[in-house]
């Protein structure tokens, strides 16, 4: 994540002493105020209701105005959004018909199928062909295995509904992100306008904009696709901009020298040269789309996400887990395919006839046609036979039951011990702090870390939370996020250290965290709820599971990235293994570990909002309630509050990492 605050110089030793004194003074003042200020200034502890700025109401009113009165002259705003929805509806219907429902004539239950959907065998075969094209036999086998798993466990129909949404969202997201990125590259003002929006879009929780999207685009798959686009496009835009900036200047010069027009320069020189990073962007869009399509089941996306959601609501673990596994399989297929394409470089052009040049396309078309014909005769080819489906739902339910019967007391004891001794006291502590004091302390920290600009920013954002009357809920969010981050770091840093020391272990850890990161956040809820039912503790477990990956990754990468010459020097001086680790490696890897902490906080926050489904009482819950009540103001304001927390944490940790790096004399990394 890019940071806006300017780089600071490394402080001289004299300044560092001053800094320590200042910090002690600030903390002392804060403590005094906390202990004795309640009588003097009660308003500083409990934000007065009368001072609340009704941002939520303003937003709701603005939304109402948009819907009812806003007009572009020829057509109203609502007509515009409905038009967009209708335009997206067309390709979605085609994809859905192709994969799931078949082409229908008529409406609703009276509809008759005029063309069946693609046979499940044909879909698997087409994916296998794509896999073979991109990554050879091994990838094809993996694809067949994963999709076969989906079919055998009876998740095929839902999976195809999810896939249909993704097939529509991904091309739109990629093209939209690419165009925005190119525009930002070409016109400085576009970048200036986009940058803060991109920053905000990456920190605002997804639930928050589900509400306005729901209101503007109606309940259903198209609204879900719009939300998915909003979610998946910003990273593509960012990556496009970076990729274009990194095209070697010589290629730019070449384009000018051969007399390219602006358009030729962009499309014939810059974009093809930036292919590799752009493909990474495509992979991102695909994975983010999958994540969002699952979450957007709340506004009617249907498919696997809906199955998980329904299972969560009924606490039917078996069904939920099965759908969860299917999501994992789908995620694996999409991730591996797009990564394989990203790794492939440009191939040699093939000469010859059309069929000669497109053997894979030909094979795919032939398979589809063959399967369709066979499907007319053999129904098992058309759709996977129900009798062969294996349902493990009851099995998993029984496993959970067994665990609960045998280990209920143990699990409960762990849960209660942690709740009573750690979670609740920490929560009480945070809630007792005076908001005004916290705002002042944050501003001070911002000033020390990144100068007055950062101080103003943090103070303003913290004040926004207080002024919109969300202080208590925000503190609950901070408490859950803080505890989860702490535990994730406590697990992640040692694992990262171990992985960095042993190359063999690192390979395995990498596979595990890569896989963990491809999983949609929804999937993490299921096992946590199974074992600990609903509540803060469950939320914490899910958040830790989700957020531990970056903690491990950054620690390991930071340690492995330490200059080998320094390690050699350490060895030459006779450092023991532990001296080497504590005195050289960890110190030099500190900036990187701080960035890992930053990512862990960001991951934790984004997951925390989703854990509202398992009954937290923080800002996430506020957003979720707003979603169920379709109250855009309330949802957006709570979402913005989460974004504020994220931005404060992000800027502070970035500034901290930058200071540490400057102190160590390391080069600024490109972000």
């Amino acid at each position: 994540m890019a940071s806006l605050s300017p780089a600071t110089q490394a402080p001289a030793p004299k300044f560092r002493q001053v800094s320590v004194v200042l910090w002690i003074a600030a903390l002392g003042l804060f403590w005094l105020f906390w202990k004795h200020g309640a009588g003097l200034a009660p308003w500083a502890f409990d934000y007065p209701r009368a001072w609340t700025v009704p941002v939520a109401r303003w937003i709701s009113q603005a939304m109402k105005w948009l819907l009812n009165d806003a007009t572009f002259g020829l057509f109203t705003f609502e007509q515009a959004t409905r038009f967009i929805a209708a335009v997206i509806e067309v390709p979605y219907q085609v994809a859905l018909s192709l994969l799931s429902t078949g082409f229908l004539e008529g409406q609703g239950s009276t509809a008759t199928q005029i063309l069946p959907p693609l046979s499940w065998l044909a879909v698997i075969a087409v994916f296998a062909l794509i896999g073979h094209r991109a990554g050879g036999v091994r990838l094809a086998a993996l694809v067949v295995g994963c999709l076969g798993f989906v079919a055998v466990f009876g998740q095929w129909t839902s999976a195809m509904v999810t896939l249909a949404s993704i097939l529509v969202a991904v091309p739109l997201g990629v093209v939209g992100g690419l165009l925005l990125g190119i525009a930002a590259y070409r016109w400085l003002w576009v970048e200036r306008v986009l940058r803060p929006i991109l920053d905000l879009m990456q920190t605002i929780p997804v639930f928050a904009y589900l509400v306005p999207v729901l209101i503007l685009f109606g309940f259903g798959p198209t609204a879900a696709i719009v939300a998915t686009l909003i979610y998946a496009m910003p990273p593509m835009t960012r990556i496009t901009l970076l990729a274009l900036r990194r095209v070697p200047s010589e290629l730019h010069d070449l384009g000018q020298m051969v007399g390219c027009t602006r358009r030729q320069l962009t499309w014939k020189v810059l974009v093809p040269s930036a292919r590799d990073p752009l493909m990474v962007g495509v992979n991102q869009v695909i994975m983010l789309s999958l994540n969002m399509v699952i979450i957007a089941s709340m506004i009617g996306a249907g498919g696997l996400g809906f199955d998980v959601l329904a299972a969560l609501r009924k606490l039917d673990f078996g069904a939920g887990l099965e759908a969860g596994f299917a999501i994992v399989a789908l995620a694996l297929v999409l991730d591996q395919l797009s990564q394989a394409f990203a790794r492939k470089s440009w191939g040699q052009p093939v000469q010859g006839s059309w069929a000669h040049r497109h053997p894979y396309l030909l094979a795919a078309l032939a398979t589809v046609a063959l399967a369709a014909l066979l499907g007319l005769v053999v129904p098992a080819v058309q759709s996977y036979p129900k009798t062969l489906e294996i349902s493990t739902g009851t099995f998993w339910s029984n496993v959970v039951k067994w665990i609960n019967v045998n280990y209920f007391d143990t699990l409960e004891a762990i849960k209660n011990a942690l709740l009573l001794n750690l979670l609740i006291p920490f929560k009480r502590f945070l809630l007792s702090l005076p908001w005004a004091g916290v705002v002042a302390l944050l501003a001070f920290a911002g000033w020390r870390l990144g100068g007055w600009r950062l101080a103003v920013l943090t103070a303003f954002l913290a004040l926004f939370i207080a002024a919109t009357g969300q202080w208590e809920k925000a503190m609950t969010t901070v408490y859950l996020c803080g505890i989860s981050t702490m535990i994730a770091m406590l697990i992640g840093v040692p694992v990262g250290i171990a992985a960095a020391e042993k190359a063999g272990l690192w390979r395995w850890v990498q596979v595990v965290i890569d896989t963990l990161q491809t999983l949609p956040s929804f999937v993490y809820l299921m096992p946590a709820v199974m074992l600990f039912r609903v509540g803060d503790f469950t939320a914490m477990i899910a958040v830790v599971a989700f957020a531990v990956a970056p903690a491990i990754r950054y620690t390991a990468l930071g340690l492995r990235g330490v200059d080998p010459r320094l390690i050699e020097a350490g060895r030459a001086m006779g450092c023991t293994r532990s001296q080497m680790l504590t005195r050289i490696k960890l110190r030099l890897a500190l900036p990187e570990i701080l960035l890992g902490l930053n990512q862990t906080v960001m991951f934790a926050l984004s997951m925390l909002v989703i854990t509202a489904l398992v009954g937290t009482r923080d800002l996430g819950q506020e957003v979720y309630i707003a979603l169920t009540k379709a109250d855009p103001g309330r949802g957006l304001v709570a979402g913005l509050a989460v974004a504020c927390i994220a931005i404060i944490a992000d800027r502070m940790l970035h500034a901290g990492a930058r200071n540490a790096r400057a102190r160590l004399g390391l080069a600024e990394v490109q972000e």
Binding site: P248, E250, L251, D253, L254, Q256, M257, V258, G259, C260, T261, Q264, K268, V269, P272, S273, R275, S345, W346, G347, Q348, P349
Partner: protein, 342 residues
């Protein structure tokens, strides 16, 4: 240079400046062209190119030599207007490139200029043939025609048979051959080579220099060649311009640069160069005609090139002009003295 000489020259730079920094043109007007580097630094400006005057003659290999940061790459980009100069003039066949419109400049670049880059700048998604044909595709030439011309160029640089290879499958030397073929595909009058061989291994570099000299004998382009390698400059140049801190400190033939360095800075470079390799026989001969039985050597040859004749026992060589006139006699002891001097 005199105004009479300018119209005949292919490319002329007059009082060319490039300053980097805020509001550079105003600052230059204020400070005047005699400004020192310190004054510029105080104004927050960096002078990449300072008051450069030069004229490149048609068919000449003009080498601009300088160390990194001397402004040579900026200078070649000012000549092609890839970078806008802060002030001054760039004349191509007498036409001021800085005064013409953008579309006119595009037209000139498309048809009259070619450029070879240090890191080859090949497009990764195009085959060798398509890379070479790329400038023609940009011009909108039809596919059959441009592939025909591109094939001829690929053959010219000795890559026939590799037309369908992708850039990453080629060695560095081969990649630069593609770069050369591409820059020649539009049949440019003015050929810019920006450190074309710097990224190559020394052995390959030498091979490519020979290749360039071979091509130039056939093509007779006007060449502006940028390098940081003094030996390369000596080897290729008809004339060398040596740059330091954005200024040209000496602009002369290789022989003059080595024999009469203008400054200590130039002397530092030329010290290690064997005199015999740059000195023409006309500079080492005694005037007058020798005996009729003497073998002949062209006046344009270097002493080192003439030396092998003495190994076969000759005591003296007859130096002749291009028209066959007898210019003087090159004696064995003069050659030995020069060779021993190193």
């Amino acid at each position: 240079m005199s105004d009479q000489a300018a119209p005949q020259a292919k490319l002329v730079c007059r009082n060319l400046w490039k300053l980097f920094g805020a509001r550079a043109p105003e600052a230059l007007d204020r400070l005047g062209s005699e400004v020192s580097a310190r004054d510029l630094a105080e104004a927050g400006l960096v002078a990449a190119v300072r008051s450069v005057d030069l004229a490149v003659q048609p068919g000449e290999v003009f080498v601009i030599m300088g160390l990194s940061g001397s402004g040579k790459s900026t200078l070649v980009r000012l000549m092609s207007r890839l970078i806008e100069p802060t002030s001054g003039e760039v004349l191509l066949d007498g036409q001021n490139l800085l005064a013409i419109s953008k579309s006119e400049m595009t037209r000139i670049r498309r048809h009259r200029m070619g450029m070879v880059f240090q890191h080859f700048a090949l497009l990764p998604h195009l085959s060798v043939l398509d890379n070479v044909a790329f400038p023609l595709a940009v011009q909108g030439l039809n596919r059959a025609e441009r592939l025909k011309r591109a094939s001829a160029m690929v053959e010219l640089v000795g890559l026939a048979g590799r037309e369908d290879a992708m850039p990453r499958q080629l060695s560095g030397g081969q990649q630069q051959r593609v770069g050369i073929a591409r820059s020649l595909a539009v049949e440019p009058e003015l050929w810019f080579l920006d450190e074309p061989f710097s990224a190559l291994d020394p052995l390959i570099r030498r091979e490519m220099q020979d290749e360039l000299m071979r091509l130039q004998q056939v093509l007779k382009k006007t060449i502006v060649f940028i390098t940081h390698d003094f030996d390369e400059a000596i080897r290729l140049a008809d004339r060398i311009a040596i740059m330091k801190d954005g200024e040209i400190v000496q602009c002369d033939t290789p022989e003059q640069v080595v024999l009469n360095p203008a400054t200590d800075y130039v002397r530092e470079f030329s010290r290690a160069v064997p005199r015999a390799k740059v000195m023409r026989v006309t500079s080492a001969m005694e005037p007058g005609a020798g005996g009729a039985d003497l073998a002949e050597v062209a006046g344009s040859a270097t002493v080192a090139e003439a030396a092998p004749a003495f190994l076969q026992g000759a005591e003296a060589l007859q130096v002749t002009g291009p028209d066959g006139a007898k210019l003087g006699v090159l004696r064995r002891d003069a050659v030995i003295r020069l060779m021993l001097e190193g």
